[in-house]
């Protein structure tokens, strides 16, 4: 039997679904919400309900989206002719927040991983292919991660783009800005060296 009363047990259980939250922190969060932060707890509950009700997936870029209009699929972004493919929503946010890129996106919600049963169907690659076929995209920018799975995914994306006669590029991988070569691992340095360009 649980050491908590039933409602408290449910709350702690629910909090434990959050990333990085173990039983101890879940208990601490629950007590804080019930004690000093009751107003904030009500706001949180309302925000959650609201978000679940109104936030869905954009049928075009697969990013989270409220209502019918997706802020990442505007006519201005379409006019740029650029479509950037990322593995997840956090990658999209990182590019939006950290770069001047203002083209369109396609969020895979994963990466090819056959041993986990994730293939082209799960990533919506047929949907991407249909978008490239419309002729709106001049350049497909592949921003999958520099992992084995990200490489394999990039390979498939490049094939799809080539079949549609769309130019393809891959974001560069290398030495972090402000970093020092001596502290960069061998794999990253190898990438940086093979991706060198003329100056």
């Amino acid at each position: 039997m649980s050491v908590y009363s039933p409602r408290l047990a449910r709350l702690i259980d629910a909090l434990r679904r959050l990333p990085g939250v173990g039983p101890k922190s879940a208990q601490r969060m629950a007590f804080q919400l019930l004690d000093r932060e009751r107003g904030a707890a009500r706001t949180l509950a309302q925000a959650l309900t609201d978000a679940l009700e109104h936030i869905g997936r954009c049928p075009s870029c697969r990013m989270f989206c409220e209502g019918g209009d997706c802020r990442y699929c505007t006519p201005a972004r379409t006019a740029s002719g650029h479509l950037c493919v990322v593995e997840g929503p956090a990658d999209l946010m990182a590019i939006e927040a950290g770069t001047p890129y203002r083209g369109r996106y396609f969020v895979l919600m994963g990466r090819l991983s056959p041993l986990d049963g994730i293939g082209p169907d799960e990533l919506g690659l047929d949907q991407l292919q249909a978008q490239l076929a419309t002729g709106d995209v001049r350049e497909l920018i592949i921003a999958t991660n520099p992992t084995v799975e990200g490489e394999a995914t990039a390979h498939c994306l490049a094939e799809i783009a080539r079949a549609q006669n769309v130019a393809v590029s891959r974001i560069a991988h290398g030495v972090p800005v402000g970093g020092e070569l001596e502290y960069v691992d061998g794999g990253t340095l190898a990438h940086a060296l093979s991706g060198r360009r003329q100056v």
């Binding site: 041993l115 690659l125 084995v148 490489e151 794999g187």
Partner: protein, 233 residues
């Protein structure tokens, strides 16, 4: 029971899966200990240094403490460069990994097969089909289901392959027969022409299928999906 501490043993990652909040369950394939499951604590945390190393096809030196069926990873170092697998060769590398996961139990050392695996990875970029067939042949041998390819095969004779008897001289007009030269090529691991590759593929398919049972390989399914969605080719 003493809990062994394994230090810097050669190995490769076959697969990783998320484990708990910030850890990874690493399915590793090692020279001395065969396939082992290792927990890499904290390696999914942001800026983890081990995660970048725990990639398939990268030769590693692994250290862990044995704890029942799963070990606790205590160290990982690169042991040379990762096999540079371009595009579709990655899928073939995954195929090798899936074969090992499906067909070998944990804690069952196969040092010869480990060496074959390293050779196969190195050959995938230049001789993909041949590398796969030779690895499959060696895998079957290690599992005790090796093909019987004797020294006295005649290159000019057509054979059929009997599961019990091995190669048997085929009747003339047997359309399913294998060229003697193909059997010799597979035996000697010199698969350099189309006929030999095709015959090797057909010959190895039956015993692999019977070992794998009804559940098809995920890598094969994925590769079919990708090829289907490719309009050209």
């Amino acid at each position: 029971m003493t809990r062994a501490r394994i230090q810097l043993t050669p190995g490769h990652v076959l697969r990783t899966q998320p484990y708990r909040d910030t850890s990874l369950l690493v399915e590793a394939w090692t020279y001395h200990h065969g396939r082992v499951g290792l927990i890499a604590r904290g390696s999914r945390a942001p800026r983890s240094r081990t995660r970048a190393l725990l990639q398939p096809f990268q030769p590693l030196l692994l250290s862990w403490n044995e704890q029942g069926d799963l070990g606790a990873l205590t160290g990982v170092e690169a042991d040379g460069h990762a096999a540079a697998l371009p595009g579709e060769a990655i899928f073939s590398g995954w195929y090798l990994n899936e074969l090992l996961i499906r067909l070998l139990p944990r804690h069952d050392p196969h040092p010869d097969l480990y060496a074959d695996y390293v050779v196969a990875l190195a050959q995938l970029p230049s001789a993909l089909e041949a590398a796969l067939r030779i690895f499959e042949k060696n895998l079957l041998t290690e599992l005790g289901y090796g093909l019987q390819l004797d020294d006295d095969l005649d290159p000019a004779t057509p054979y059929r392959y009997d599961t019990e008897l091995g190669p048997v001289v085929a009747d003339s007009g047997d359309g399913d027969a294998y060229a003697g030269s193909s059997l010799i090529a597979l035996r000697d691991e010199q698969l350099d022409d189309e006929t030999a590759l095709r015959d090797a593929r057909r010959l190895l398919r039956a015993p692999l299928r019977s070992l794998l049972g009804d559940k098809p390989l995920e890598t094969a399914r994925l590769l079919r999906q990708i090829r289907k969605s490719r309009p050209t080719a």
